[in-house]
């Protein structure tokens, strides 16, 4: 492990302590001081938003949009009811960073949600957890909520300041698509998780038709420290355009799989070292740098890339949710994409035609290829489908299903062809 990389300083700050998820532990490392300060000074919401814009914090759920700018879309002067929704429906294959924040540092999220609600003028916030979190994650959040209520940090008349903010926890039923923000709003409203078409955007017409801001767990959990230490502190970490820390969930053929919170812009090599290197000292073949829905990057390109939004984008992929999937030289790439395609086939909500029909079609062709029954004509068809799906659906699931297929064919066409030539 290299000593010069700061790890686990922000969202995983309590990890090194005993009872990391307890209220006392969080307070002992200075937790809730930002929220108390805001209450005591009656800080102007606009100042908080400006502060977050200055810090350069970007959404950690996948898209990487400036968090402060997102908050500023809410019309502060309107009388409408506003909502904050925390997207804790972490379902992107390979990603488990939010899960550990919820398990080990839930209070940071709650404090972040309180500050965000205050900044956008929401009196009610929802924390929507994925269905599979029903065990330890859910109980950890429940307990944290209870403690925060008991300490009068949430609820009616917070710390006798006349400020009222309620946070409700919700648990989903295990559909990938509900991680899409507007599908989540539908789900909270009690409807089926179908993404909504945009415009109108949620900041204008969201939950129950009211202005709504939806943020990722990691984004919100980063907020209290930024308020405490100032936007400059945060902005100085990382690169110019990618400021701050980011949690990466490293998995696959790696010696020490797990979550690593490191400054953005850290070279991929260092992250690989941190995680103990490729298993069995094998050669790195390929990396999916941001969850299964982003394009795959060949290992040699990845070794020269830094872990920030721009560098990965230059490498032809996306930082996404920060799920780094490592694949060694023995990996059969056709089998990998076979599995990924099946995932999107079964998780498509079925609303838009291209995604409903296209995900299944791609899977069926790849399946045929794996079984050695495909012809070159089938392969040509497969090559054309991702292009037909991407950009033409309501939500990004269409693109998410198309991009991996497109990239796997781009870099590993030979492997596909080897299956096809097997056909006698």
């Amino acid at each position: 492990m290299k000593n010069n990389i700061k790890i686990n300083e922000l969202c995983y700050a309590t990890l090194s302590k005993e009872n990391p998820n307890s209220y006392e532990t969080y307070v002992s490392i200075g937790g809730y001081s930002a929220w108390k300060k805001i209450i005591a000074n009656s800080t102007k919401p606009k100042d908080i938003i400006d502060n977050i814009i200055d810090s350069g914090l970007r959404g950690r759920g996948g898209a990487g949009f400036s968090t402060g700018r997102k908050w500023s879309f809410i019309d502060q002067n309107s009388d409408e009811i506003k909502y904050l929704v925390c997207n804790a429906d972490e379902s992107e294959p390979g990603t488990c960073k939010d899960r550990d924040i919820l398990r080990f540092n839930p209070h940071a999220l709650l404090e972040g949600m309180l500050i965000a609600s205050y900044a956008i003028g929401a009196k009610v916030a929802y924390c929507y957890l994925r269905g599979e979190f029903i065990d330890d994650v859910y109980s950890s959040v429940k307990k944290a909520l209870k403690d925060a209520y008991q300490n009068k940090l949430i609820g009616k008349n917070i710390l006798d300041s006349n400020i009222c903010i309620d946070i409700y926890d919700l648990i989903g039923a295990g559909a990938y698509i509900v991680g899409e923000e507007t599908a989540m709003l539908e789900s909270i409203e009690g409807k089926k998780g179908f993404p909504r078409y945009k415009p109108p955007f949620p900041a204008e017409k969201g939950l129950f038709g009211c202005p709504t801001i939806i943020n990722n767990v990691e984004t919100l959990a980063s907020v209290p420290e930024i308020i405490n230490k100032g936007s400059d502190w945060f902005n100085k970490i990382g690169t110019d355009k990618s400021a701050g820390f980011k949690c990466f969930s490293v998995s696959g053929h790696i010696n020490k799989p797990g979550n690593y919170e490191i400054p953005l812009g850290t070279p991929f090599r260092d992250l690989l070292d941190l995680a103990g290197g490729v298993k069995n000292n094998k050669k790195l073949k390929a990396v999916i740098p941001g969850g299964s829905s982003v394009p795959v990057v060949p290992g040699d390109i990845m070794l020269e890339t830094n872990m920030d939004y721009e560098s990965i984008s230059n490498a032809g992929s996306m930082l996404g949710s920060g799920a780094v999937i490592i694949m060694d030289e023995d990996t059969n790439m056709v089998e990998v994409i076979h599995r990924i395609a099946r995932f999107y086939y079964s998780e498509s909500c079925g609303q838009c035609t291209p995604c409903r029909e296209g995900t299944g079609w791609m899977y069926k062709i790849i399946d045929k290829i794996i079984k050695g029954q495909a012809t070159l004509e089938d392969f040509e068809t497969l090559k054309s489908i991702p292009h037909m799906i991407s950009g033409s659906t309501i939500c990004a699931l269409g693109d998410a299903a198309a991009m991996p297929v497109e990239s796997f064919i781009k870099y590993y066409e030979k492997e596909f062809l080897s299956y096809i030539s097997k056909k006698t």
């Binding site: 559909a175 698509i177 089926k192 179908f194 078409y197 415009p199 086939y345 079964s346 998780e347 498509s348 909500c349 079925g350 609303q351 838009c352 035609t353 291209p354 409903r356 029909e357 296209g358 995900t359 299944g360 079609w361 069926k364 089938d378 068809t381 037909m388 950009g391 033409s392 659906t393 309501i394």
Partner: protein
């Protein structure tokens, strides 16, 4: 504001989407999920177009136009996207157009023709779904479904009864009903029209013909009082199907199931092919000439005073006009059409089925008081308008004898025994006359003394009445009196009381009818006291009840089943004692035939041209869709011939168009304001009695002689032999609720029926559906009834 589409400039208003602008200007954009009457779903992705400056295609249906922006519907991006979507839609859609009912009018087929590939690249098993039954009206073939969700949105937004939903996800997404239940909406047939593919087809015409073989004739619905416009599609002189004809003043693009599927009755086995006469105690088919001879022989001068004629309010205005003209020429003045009315007072009210506001404006009403109407099922189109008003935040209150199911929510409803409606309305008048005492704009309108005598002070304390009246005092309010109340013994008084309330609250008022041309029957003077144009008749005749009670010598019944008469049992008795009974009928049951001496075969409305007047006062003419069945003749022809037979000189060239001209000349010049004359108003002493009373009208599809014989519609009807009472009433009458059967007695008859405990029934009320034969043989509604343990 301006935008550019395909290099041409177009104007638009803020908030309009590209597809709206394109549709208005005749620019074709393909679509499946978008429908101008439904909310936007943007899920089919067929309408993808290019917005200059954005590198991905946008759906025209959900993209709001931006000023000075440029769009292309035919550029490479747009066309490629449409082509791609088409390919995706077709991979799982069966390519079996030759055996699909939708072929020839299928939007998918049309688009495939433009954007589809010659050969499919998809070589895997296609998705197949097992069909499920959702009732006799809609035939499903869900394998063909393209998941546009129009039917789902139709149910939620238009019909107001959510029946379809999308179950499952991804490729397994399936449109179906919850727990495979049947579709129950009275406007369900519209889903067949809005379904862009062959997933939802019309049940009755399934697999019976091809769309391109059909001839289309515009017609008017022969059922409710709205006069929905419809298009009759004819194949080989048979009605193949009926679809709505767009009329934004009346039915928009919708049609109720009753209007859509009633045509199935046309070839019912009770149709008359030739005149039938009783000769020597047996019924024989005879020729027309013979029939006229029999009529001439039996209706002679000596019997004119001893004859009566009843005509259906479902007949055309031409038939009604000629009917009364023929009879009055013979000096037969006992003419009436109000056969379903229970009791006739001496009040000359002139309050005929009408509504004093255009139907299209009902959606703008702010407050509605509904007096005992099963509106959603009796008048589906009107109910849709009220649903629209409701969605515009109108307050809807009801006074009702049964908690009917509506497709809108009511803000306050009062469930009362039918005997108490009069009392409640008088209470309301009492309250209103107090609060409007200083209102100068009422022009000194004073409540008749006869009503004032019955004020008991209750109206001033009853909170619900205050709420109803308060809401009616809003600007632009409406009172609707249900058609079922025609069977109520005080129907005429109910009309007067609601009319007084409408005067005091300055509301609009509507008296609903359950027949398509009741207004026409009034206007043509098919009444004992009125002649054409509602002019007072010199020689006053007997009304229908008096005519039946008087046991006359001759009865002439035009286009009515005997069951249509409220005084059904009395009528049968009088008919069997009469010397000569003449019928003009399209259909006749063997049982009814026994009461006739001669029945002439009448063309149905589908086989005859005519005109109907709806409650709005709109005259709508239509031509015949079919040629008459066998030797049946159009009513106007038979009646004209009869006038000739009885010696009236008629110009040889006299034809159908002359009748319209004559009717119009007589009626349209008489557009006087109708005043109500309340001099003879008498109100019997109102006592609250606790006798059990029978209530419950016909099921949805039993209210006229055509619908009654429409096969598929009748499969939807609930004709079970059941009686419903609420628990309180049952306890009061010491009925053992453990047993599920009871004996009911009405007059001298009795019946064993299944008991249902239903809190939707008002106190002291026994709710029975009249369309069950055992039930109507027992008697009619609003009569005293007894209930006993088995």
């Amino acid at each position: 504001m301006k935008i550019k589409i395909n290099n041409k400039e177009y104007f638009f208003e803020k908030g309009e989407t590209i597809i709206q602008i394109a549709d208005r200007n005749g620019i074709h954009i393909p679509r499946f999920c978008y429908h101008s009457k439904l909310s936007v779903a943007a899920n089919c992705r067929m309408c993808l177009i290019e917005q200059v400056g954005i590198n991905k295609p946008l759906p025209a249906c959900s993209t709001p136009a931006i000023e000075n922006q440029e769009y292309f519907t035919n550029s490479k991006i747009a066309q490629d996207s449409q082509k791609n979507t088409m390919e995706f839609l077709l991979i799982n859609h069966p390519l079996d157009c030759p055996v699909c009912d939708q072929a020839g009018m299928c939007e998918l087929q049309d688009q495939a023709f433009v954007h589809g590939r010659v050969k499919s690249r998809y070589s895997y098993e296609k998705r197949v779904l097992i069909d499920y039954k959702i009732g006799p009206l809609i035939k499903t073939n869900m394998t063909r479904c393209i998941h546009c969700t129009r039917c789902v949105r139709y149910g939620e937004e238009i019909a107001g009864i959510k029946e379809f939903g999308a179950v499952g996800r991804g490729e397994n997404l399936e449109i179906r009903t919850y727990l495979s239940s049947a579709i129950n909406s009275p406007m369900s047939g519209n889903m067949i029209d809005i379904c862009p593919v062959g997933a939802l087809n019309a049940g009755p015409s399934h697999m019976k013909g091809r769309t391109w073989e059909l001839e289309e004739i515009k017609s008017i619905s022969p059922h409710d009082c709205i006069g929905s416009n419809m298009s009759v599609h004819v194949l080989d002189n048979n009605v193949f199907r009926v679809v709505p004809f767009e009329n934004n003043n009346i039915n928009e693009i919708w049609l109720s199931d009753r209007d859509r599927f009633s045509y199935e009755a046309i070839n019912h086995n009770e149709r008359l092919k030739k005149p039938v006469a009783k000769i020597g105690g047996r019924y024989e088919e005879i020729e027309w000439e013979q029939a006229f001879e029999i009529i001439k022989k039996n209706i002679d001068e000596t019997k004119f005073g001893m004859s009566a004629g009843f005509i259906s309010a479902n007949s055309t205005i031409e038939e009604q006009y000629l009917f009364q003209k023929w009879l009055r020429e013979l000096n037969i003045n006992n003419i009436d059409h109000r056969v379903s009315q229970n009791y006739f007072s001496n009040v000359d009210d002139n309050l005929f089925p009408k509504i004093d506001i255009p139907i299209k404006d009902i959606e703008k009403i702010n407050s509605i008081l509904l007096v005992d109407s099963n509106l959603t099922y009796d008048q589906p189109i009107l109910s849709h308008k009220i649903r629209k008003a409701y969605l515009n935040n109108a307050k809807i209150n009801t006074i009702q004898t049964f908690n009917y199911k509506y497709n809108f929510e009511t803000s306050e409803s009062l469930l009362i025994n039918p005997n108490l409606i009069i009392e409640i309305l008088i209470d309301a008048i009492e309250y209103l006359s107090v609060i409007t005492i200083n209102d100068k704009t009422l022009n000194n309108f004073s409540v008749p003394e006869e009503i004032k005598k019955n004020f008991k002070g209750k109206g001033l304390t009853n909170k619900k009445i205050k709420k109803f009246c308060g809401d009616l005092l809003f600007d632009n309010s409406l009172i609707l009196l249900g058609s079922n109340l025609k069977n109520h013994q005080d129907y005429e008084l109910l009309k007067i009381l609601t009319n007084i309330i409408s005067i005091l609250t300055k509301s609009h008022i509507g008296f609903l009818g359950d027949k398509c041309n009741e207004a026409g029957a009034w206007l043509t003077g098919c009444l004992p006291k009125k002649s054409v144009g509602l002019k007072d008749q010199k020689n006053i005749g007997l009304n229908v009840y008096e005519s039946i009670k008087a046991s006359l010598d001759t009865y002439i019944i035009y286009n009515l089943d005997l069951i249509d008469f409220y005084h059904y049992s009395d009528l049968k008795k009088s008919l069997s004692e009469a010397n000569f009974v003449l019928g003009f009928h399209s259909f006749i049951s063997d049982e009814d035939l026994n009461y006739y001496d001669l029945v002439l075969p009448l063309a149905t409305v589908f086989e005859s041209p005519g005109t109907f007047v709806n409650i709005e006062g709109e005259w709508q003419s239509f031509s015949n869709s079919l040629n008459p069945f066998y030797l049946a003749k159009e009513g106007w022809k038979i009646l004209t011939k009869l006038r000739l037979v009885f010696g009236k000189e008629i110009n040889n060239k006299f034809d159908y168009i002359d009748i319209i001209n004559e009717v119009e000349a007589e009626i349209r010049k008489n557009k006087k304001v109708l005043n109500i004359n309340l001099e003879n108003l008498k109100i019997q002493k109102i006592e609250s009695n606790t006798n059990l009373i029978r209530s419950g009208g016909y099921s949805n599809y039993f209210n006229d002689n055509i619908v009654r014989r429409a096969f598929s519609l009748n499969n939807v009807n609930n004709n079970k032999n059941t009686v419903s009472l609420n628990k309180k009433t049952l306890e009061k009458n010491n009925i053992d609720i453990e047993k599920n059967k009871v004996i009911i007695r009405q007059g001298e008859k009795s019946l064993l029926a299944e008991l249902i405990i239903d809190e939707n029934v008002s106190d002291n009320c026994v709710f029975m559906v009249n369309s069950n034969k055992e039930h109507y043989e027992l008697g009619k509604q609003y009569q005293q009834i007894l209930i006993e343990n088995v």
